[in-house]
Symmetry: C2
DNA sequence: TGCGAAGCGGAACGGTGCTCCGTATATTGG
DNA sequence: CCAATATACGGAGCACCGTTCCGCTTCGCA
């Protein structure tokens, strides 16, 4: 497994100041490039935006995909934390609103959903990161609903998470496709009594 | 638009015999390569399997994506025709069974679902071909169900088709993902009364 | 202030899809 | 049956991708 992004490892021997500066510049530049060009911005564009050489990317991130992971890591944390905002509604309301935020997140970052489930080399770590951070959240929301009998219990959180992510694909490639409607439809199916 | 695959255009001035032979060899070789390697088999592999040069591919198909379209075209026809086999069941049964065949088709061809909804250049024609051939079929099935009041009427066939296709993504990249369960869940949502 | 180690830039490599051009061959008029 | 010509061919070459290599620069500490 490629993983092992710098940000992950606890404080090792402190890095040189220029190295720390460049790493942050790369994260900022990559975020900007992903917004402007999409997730598939080239490493040359990112390096150029950051004002560093190409090799500097690879000194800080094992691979292009790991840079993508690093850029979205803290946004992923925010998304994971956003499940607590279940202010007053039913567990099902909480689930619905969090799923909505999840979808917004994926749709807003052009190409993220596509990359997440792509079979292209290197993106397994992106997938793994999403699963690690978000699956527990979705699972908890789902179990709350199940306790209240609001959803059927034969649906696995993992399947649901990938399905929702998949439904976001194409949202900005095909303007006529209404991904959020389809996510609603999926959630409707979740609340139906239909047994095994 | 790139389209304009040779097979589409009606009989123009008859081509040379070796040209016809090579075109068929390319279609066969590509089909074999897609099974063995996946949709992302390289043009060099396909040319090599067909025993022709690389340029010969581009003499017959404007782009690699158009070759993919051509390979799946007749299989698409078979799939479109498969909707008539609604032997005795309800319209909803017919819908379910056809959707099942659609999903099998996408999942079996490794990488097809991914390519279908990818934003990568050139695959718009693949998307268009699927929509042209299959959307009318799905729409008819859906309207039959609606006549019987078996499905809600506020769901567009186009959205449903893309959604089902999307749910197939990752079926062979992530072995734990049960795409068919999620398609069932979506269809369950479709049969629920929930209005707008 | 000097010096080793850590970090750097950009040329270079192997891999794509696609194009160009000199060569070979199928077809057809004599 | 044989030339002459349009048509088709093969593979080297191009531009672009992610990634690696290596000689040079800069940081940080004694």
């Amino acid at each position: 497994m490629p993983g092992k992004t710098p940000a992950t490892s606890g404080a090792g021997p402190r890095k040189r100041s220029d190295a720390r500066r460049n790493e942050q510049a790369l994260l900022d530049a990559a975020a900007a490039a992903f917004v402007a060009t999409g997730i598939d911005a080239t490493v040359r564009e990112i390096a150029s935006r950051a004002g560093v050489g190409i090799a500097t990317i690879y000194r800080h991130f094992p691979t292009r995909a790991d840079l993508v992971v690093a850029v979205f890591r803290h946004q992923l944390d925010a998304l994971a934390a956003a499940s607590d905002g279940a202010d007053g509604g039913t567990p099902l309301d909480a689930l619905r609103s969090w799923v909505g935020r999840f979808a917004d997140f994926l749709i807003t970052k052009h190409g993220l959903a596509e990359a997440l489930h792509s079979d292209q080399a290197g993106f397994e770590s992106l997938h793994a990161e999403f699963v690690d951070r978000l699956l527990p959240v979705l699972d908890a929301l789902l179990q709350d609903c199940a306790k209240n009998g609001q959803v059927r219990e034969d649906v696995r959180a993992y399947d649901l998470m990938l399905a929702i992510g998949n439904l976001c694909i194409g949202a900005d490639t095909f303007p006529d496709y209404r991904s959020r409607d389809m996510i609603d439809l999926l959630l409707t199916g979740l609340t139906a009594p239909g047994g095994h």
